[in-house]
């Protein structure tokens, strides 16, 4: 068995070789910088209105133009990144909190427990993603936090199944049998021996999920079930911009571009990590 440090070195080397992963990493880092420094980067208050300057095309004072009630679009796109990051992190947290223990338990215990959990998961899985998220937000009420919670729940099956599959392969290893032979409790085995060996796929899945969560939040906000005005969300900006495609295309174009670039970044990063951690690709 190789020592962990050199495994990490191989993965890192592998990652450095893939331009896909690097472009993804750069985009994600840029996104994080914008998110953290939003108040410093935004030239205006994202909810400050200027009724004398409505639907202004991009100018020197408003590089991305103004929206239908005279707010600076650049500032709104910058601040909107925070809603998107929140969406990504919160939903993955929800999905992990619920999906991880379920997947671990199902995979490790097997038998009836496995059947029970996985059939339940399949019920959730049988709903189309967005429809389920819509249903949950419709019941809970149109608030950002509800929308994010809904997306998180929608992701649970993906995490649970992935982790279960990983556990099934990991638990056949000799070191598990050894730990059990030494009298380690189930919880201890799961925590110390099974879980760490499942981290790689979880990381990849999280990266993809963040991208999908950003998209879904935008979709729910677009449909009026997520962020409430005047909070800037890319989805809401896109929804409002759609009506002005002819008169003022910049209203929808820039938040749309922001969604595109961010989602692309997280997807590329996910691809890069997957390739780096794939044992078959190891050289």
């Amino acid at each position: 068995m190789m020592d962990p440090a050199s495994l990490r070195a191989i993965a890192l080397r592998q990652f450095r070789r893939s331009w896909v992963g690097q472009v993804g990493a750069i985009l994600v880092v840029l996104f994080l910088i914008v998110t953290v420094l939003a108040p410093l980067l935004a030239p205006y208050d994202p909810i400050a209105t200027d009724f004398a300057n409505v639907l202004s095309p991009p100018t020197r004072t408003h590089p991305l133009g103004t929206d239908d009630i005279g707010r600076d679009i650049l500032s709104r796109v910058i601040h909107g990144s925070r809603v998107s990051l929140q969406a990504g992190l919160f939903t993955v947290a929800v999905a992990l909190t619920v999906g991880l223990p379920l997947g671990l338990l199902a995979g490790f215990r097997g038998g009836r427990v496995d059947d029970l959990i996985m059939r339940g998961i399949e019920v959730i899985l049988s709903f189309p993603t967005l429809v389920l998220a819509l249903g949950i937000t419709a019941v809970l009420g149109p608030k950002l936090i509800h929308a994010l919670f809904a997306i998180g729940i929608v992701f649970v099956p993906h995490f649970a199944r992935l982790i279960r599959a990983q556990v099934l392969t990991v638990k056949e290893n000799d070191f598990i049998a050894a730990a059990e032979a030494l009298g380690a409790s189930d919880v201890r085995v799961m925590r110390l021996h099974v879980l760490p060996n499942c981290l790689a796929p979880i990381l990849v899945q999280s990266s993809f999920s963040i991208a999908f969560a950003i998209l879904t939040e935008a979709a729910l906000s677009f449909l009026g079930l997520g962020t409430q005005p005047p909070t800037p969300s890319w989805g809401i900006m896109l929804a409002m911009g759609r009506g002005y495609l002819e008169q003022a295309p910049w209203l929808g174009a820039f938040p749309g571009l922001a969604i595109f670039v961010t989602v692309l970044g997280f997807n590329l990063l996910g691809d890069g990590i997957r390739d780096a951690l794939d044992p078959r690709l190891k050289t």
Partner: protein, 505 residues
């Protein structure tokens, strides 16, 4: 007597309006109508949605109708006479009118229709509209006499809407509750089919009483809720006429070749409902602070692209009842601040307003939000789907709520229901005995000049009490393809197709 005079006057106007060169009117063809929503029911006595009236105006005949100048004109009633100090209405009915099912339209049928609307078991939405009706008597087969319990000036005006629409007794008795899907009237078109959320089709009624009408063979209503999509359908020739266009598209529509745009004053008002029974709006000074904090001119300029008019009361500029001398509705931050202090909240307060999740409504709410914020008032917006919004409105489940009213031709219909303490749509639970008195007086007064004075007082008292923050009166805009001829645009926004023909050469 007055009715006869009007009839003659109308005949003169109509004859004078006929152009020297008469354009040949083409028979046949199908008109496709783009609607903002689907019809909810085809039973006019049960309908509560404005959109339904669009279809009804072509399927059902009414006792009377309104013209472009809000004049009451004959339809199924050929003439009428008002006697007994405004208490008795005698209608002379048109001879030879048939329902689509072949049955005759008679005084007996009119009486039966009124009995149907007044029957508590039907729970008709019309019941409250015709509440003053005490008795309906058949004088002879073509004369009906309606007695009111108190003089009710808006009565004829009420009959130009659904309360005046006559349904076939035979059809109601045959279909019972299914009548709502098998409607039978005396209108120029008969009902053919209705595929929910897809289309509703009407066909020419060959037995229509006005000879030579209608010109069209068919009318197809298509619900296309999104205004932009509807407008695109208009421009690409998928529909021939469209109802409700977003003000931002009006300019584009006017510049578009082959498309006609007509913009007139509507009967609508838009505004905020403030729940007078829930803090902080139990406090009059706080309501007044909001009244002075909003800038209605900005709302008009930004959200409505300059169309329509700012609103400071329930009466739009199209109505004689509007008090044009009233000016105490302009934005005044100093006054608003003072009112906040009077109300014990000098540093402002926070509240949530519920609104419909539609672009123009969202925009309007955000404008108000920004204006209130300047005074330290934090207005949170909660957007809902229309059905949910209506449910919250009807159950008084709101602190503030933004919604509009499509309006009625008589000013009573724009004010009494909202401002009278017993008004059917007084969801804000506003109550002022002086207001009740003024409204009751205004509806029983027949003299328009005297009514105007009363409605001016209503406007001023409503501004003083501020149970609603009126914001805007929409423009009534219709867009149609150039090949659509003979369409008459009326302030109630209803599309009447009997005189319309298609000129597709």
């Amino acid at each position: 007597m007055k009715g006869w005079v009007r009839l003659v006057a109308l005949a003169v106007v109509v004859l004078a309006a006929v152009p020297a060169t008469v354009v040949a009117q083409t028979r046949g063809g199908s008109i496709r109508i783009g609607m903002d929503a689907d019809t909810t029911t085809m039973d006019p006595h049960r309908s509560t949605a404005a959109v339904d009236r669009q279809v009804y105006n072509n399927v059902y005949g009414k006792l009377v109708d309104i013209d472009a100048r809000f004049g009451i004109v004959p339809q199924l009633a050929q003439s009428w006479e008002i006697k007994g100090g405004g208490l008795v209405y005698v209608f002379k009915l048109r001879r030879g009118v048939k329902f689509h099912d072949g049955t005759d339209f008679t005084a007996e049928i009119v009486k039966w229709n009124f009995d149907r609307m007044r029957d508590p078991a039907l729970a008709s939405a019309r019941r409250s509209e015709i509440a003053p009706v005490k008795d309906v008597k058949v004088v002879d087969p073509l004369t009906v006499e309606i007695t009111l319990s108190a003089p009710f000036a808006p009565f004829l005006s009420v009959l130009t809407d659904r309360a005046g629409m006559m349904v076939s007794r035979a059809a109601v008795e045959k279909y019972k509750d299914d009548f709502a899907r098998n409607p039978v009237g005396t209108g120029p078109f008969r009902f053919v089919e209705w595929v929910k959320d897809d289309h509703l089709t009407l066909k020419r009624f060959d037995g229509y009483w006005e000879s030579g009408l209608p010109h069209l063979d068919e009318a197809v209503y298509r619900p296309i809720p999104d205004s932009s999509v509807r407008f695109t359908a208009m421009r690409t020739g998928q529909i021939d006429i469209m109802h409700q266009i977003h003000p931002k598209d009006v300019g584009t529509a006017k510049a578009e070749r082959g498309v006609k745009v007509s913009e007139i004053a509507s009967l609508w008002w838009q505004g905020l409902h403030l729940n007078n029974q829930v803090a902080p709006f139990t406090n009059k000074a706080i309501r007044q602070a909001v009244w002075y904090a909003v800038d209605r001119n900005v709302v008009q300029r930004v959200a409505y692209f300059g169309s329509g008019a700012p609103a400071w009361g329930p009466f739009p500029p199209s109505m004689w009842a509007q008090d044009r001398d009233f000016t105490d509705w302009k934005r005044d931050p100093v006054k608003a601040k003072a009112k906040l202090a009077d109300g014990g909240m000098p540093n402002g307060f926070a509240f949530t307003v519920k609104g419909w999740n539609q672009p123009i409504q969202i925009q309007e709410l955000q404008i108000v939000q920004a204006q209130l914020k300047e005074l330290g008032v934090d207005m949170k917006i909660e957007l809902l789907e229309f059905g949910a919004l209506l449910a919250d409105l009807n159950s008084h489940n709101f602190v503030a709520l933004r919604i509009g009213w499509s309006g009625r031709p008589d000013p009573d219909g724009n004010a009494h229901v909202f401002l009278h303490s017993k008004g059917g749509l007084n969801r804000v639970r506003y109550s002022n005995s002086r207001m009740d008195e003024l409204l009751d007086q205004a509806r029983s007064e027949a003299d328009q000049a005297k009514r105007k004075v009363l409605y001016a007082q209503v406007t001023r008292l409503a501004a003083e009490d501020a149970p609603y923050i009126w914001l805007h009166h929409d423009a009534e805009v219709k867009v149609w393809a150039e090949h659509v001829k003979g369409f008459e645009h009326i302030s109630d926004g209803m599309m009447r197709f009997k005189g319309v023909w298609l000129d597709k050469r």
